[in-house]
């Protein structure tokens, strides 16, 4: 199994034309602008998508870990829907709901946040597919904090918000950072929903598919090399954060 996963990784580095890699990344003006533009679009959208998820997903993760309420398990199931959907279907979901003809999309379009073939569409698709990763990781992080720690803080005079900000949030910070990195990585790797919602502006994954179809395999491989290096870097970062001792 390890070989099954590792072999393509090794082979792609062996098969890559590094002259071509430097041409598309640094030397050939015709490609450089398109490639770096796609990288920039991808990273900016993934970062904004993760920011949106932090603002909404961290409180939701805390709520799910700490409070019993009606329909709690229904809420948890809903959160995991994007895990189960084929991503092309997720794209259609977003398009019909948040697209300018959809019930919510019309309102968003009036605010200048049109989803079809736009930067906002990329953010919406990325946030939709990576939400379960962040929410579940954050929820598990809060759940692992002993309730007694929060009870002690309350008894010492801290209200619920202060307990959250001064005790729970710092203690869950490792899980939150891990959740952010994982959901950012998931957002960067998204392509299925983007093909439906926002082909333009092109993200790096869309460009890989386009180059594969237009220019052939060697150009597509050259474009995947920086993507793979970025994935490895992220993987190492996640391991470092997740494995770091508290304090």
């Amino acid at each position: 199994m390890i070989l099954f996963i590792l072999s393509p990784l090794i082979y792609i580095f062996l098969a890559a034309d590094y002259g071509l890699v430097s041409r598309i990344l640094f030397l050939d003006e015709a490609y450089v602008k398109e490639v770096w533009g796609a990288f920039l679009t991808t990273f900016n959208a993934a970062t904004l998508s993760t920011t949106f998820l932090i603002l909404t997903g961290v409180p939701l993760g805390y709520l799910l870990s700490r409070y019993e309420f009606r329909f709690r398990s229904l809420v948890e199931s809903v959160i995991n829907i994007p895990f189960l959907l084929p991503h092309s279907v997720a794209g259609i979901f977003i398009l019909i709901t948040y697209g300018s003809k959809g019930p919510v999309g019309e309102f968003l379009a009036n605010l200048g946040m049109r989803v079809e073939d736009s930067f906002w569409g990329i953010i919406a698709a990325m946030a939709f597919v990576s939400a379960p990763i962040l929410i579940n990781t954050v929820r598990d992080g809060f759940t692992s904090i002993e309730r007694d720690i929060e009870y002690v803080a309350r008894s010492l005079g801290a209200g619920p918000l202060t307990v959250f900000l001064e005790v729970s949030l710092p203690l869950a910070s490792r899980s939150i950072v891990t959740g952010c990195l994982l959901s950012w990585a998931r957002a960067v790797s998204e392509v299925g929903a983007l093909l439906i919602v926002a082909y333009y502006p092109k993200t790096i994954n869309i460009l890989v598919i386009e180059w594969f179809n237009t220019y052939g395999l060697s150009m597509a491989i050259a474009l995947t090399i920086p993507l793979i290096l970025l994935s490895i870097l992220l993987f190492l970062l996640v391991r470092k954060v997740a494995g770091r001792e508290l304090g």
């Binding site: 009870y151 002690v152 309350r154 008894s155 010492l156 005079g157 005790v167 203690l171 508290l246 304090g247």
Partner: protein, 339 residues
């Protein structure tokens, strides 16, 4: 004064019913009972975690039943001490003061003073994961006491310590209580701990208070003894360097107060034994009968085989002779107030 009146609490399937207790200012109250009796639920209801379905909690006449934990001025010390692992010992102790508006020089002075009292001043820059169990406990108590709360609520605070540290921890609690005269409500299932620390006790069983009173009174209650650990725990005094129990010499010690502990199987019941007691109750335990025997003012438990019980005609209300296996008796110094 803390008054708990007719408290009823429901937590899932479990409920506490009509618990009433009164803890005077500076008193050390023990809430004892077997596992699953509802001791922690009662403590956390007083703390403000669980809302009661009926009843009241009063602090110096003020009804705090509907107040959140942060407005009740109790300080909580759970079994695992729940130190904030991301804060230093100083920050842990200062937390409560800071929440109540403490700042600057005054805050630092108060933290240092309580840290010296608890002998944790050299740990102030350390973080909790680097502390030993005993150090963690002292820091947790310092953090609870520094705000001078209405009461500190302790939930089995010595349960996670080894026997030697446990004894030291009880001694520390007793000493601090003697010096600082704080009010305490202390949950434990350990009878020895209850005897060593408690001014008063409440025995909880299946969510109901079976008995409230002094620890000695409680341990003389057959109903309590039936539902508590199979252990005889008695307070004695050593005179002339000898500890005697029921007229029998059980050890040599310097004059003072002691706690004598022995198991029911260390009580030999039969004719010809010099000490006499009266059987007040009995229950079957497999091939054995567990007898509740009144000896003078004390009530003890002892086992007898069914055959011997029949042979000696052991019945409730009848007299029996007893002797103790002296080499099995454990003697602890009763910490008392001798500091």
């Amino acid at each position: 004064m803390i008054m708990v009146e007719n408290l009823r609490v429901e937590v899932g399937e479990f409920s506490i019913r009509d618990v009433t207790m009164r803890v005077g200012k500076g008193e050390y109250m023990i809430v004892m009972g077997p596992s699953g009796a509802g001791k922690t639920v009662l403590l956390q209801t007083i703390l403000g975690i669980y809302p009661p379905t009926s009843g009241r909690i009063l602090v110096d006449g003020r009804d705090v039943t509907s107040l959140p934990p942060e407005d009740r001025e109790f300080a909580y010390v759970p079994q695992n001490y729940a130190l904030f692992p991301h804060m230093t010992v100083f920050e842990n102790i200062a937390f409560g003061l800071r929440m109540r508006g403490g700042r600057g020089q005054d805050l630092r002075r108060r933290v240092r003073r309580i840290a010296e009292e608890l002998r944790v001043e050299r740990l102030l820059d350390r973080k909790p994961p680097t502390l030993s169990s005993g150090e963690k406990q002292r820091v947790a108590i310092a953090r609870a006491l520094v705000t001078q709360p209405q009461a500190i609520l302790l939930d089995e605070p010595t349960a996670s310590l080894d026997p030697e540290l446990r004894f030291r921890a009880r001694r520390l609690l007793r000493k601090l209580h003697h010096q600082l005269k704080f009010t305490a409500i202390h949950v434990t299932h350990d009878i020895v701990e209850a005897v060593m620390l408690g001014d008063k006790a409440l025995f909880l069983y299946k969510g109901q208070a079976l008995r409230t009173g002094s620890v000695e009174e409680i341990l003389r209650t057959p109903e309590v003894l039936k539902h508590s650990e199979d252990l005889n725990v008695l307070k004695v005094e050593a005179e002339d360097r000898e500890i005697t129990l029921f007229g029998m010499k059980v050890g040599d010690r310097k004059p003072g107060k002691y706690i004598v502990v022995f198991r029911p199987e260390d009580v030999i019941i039969g004719e010809g034994n010099e000490v006499e007691g009266v059987v007040v109750d009995k229950e079957s335990r497999g091939p054995l009968e567990l007898l509740y025997i009144q000896v003078g003012e004390d009530l003890i438990k002892g086992y007898i085989t069914r055959g011997r019980a029949e042979l000696y005609g052991v019945e409730v209300g009848e007299k029996v002779g007893i002797r103790l296996l002296l080499n099995r008796i454990r003697i602890y110094e009763d910490i008392g107030d001798s500091f």
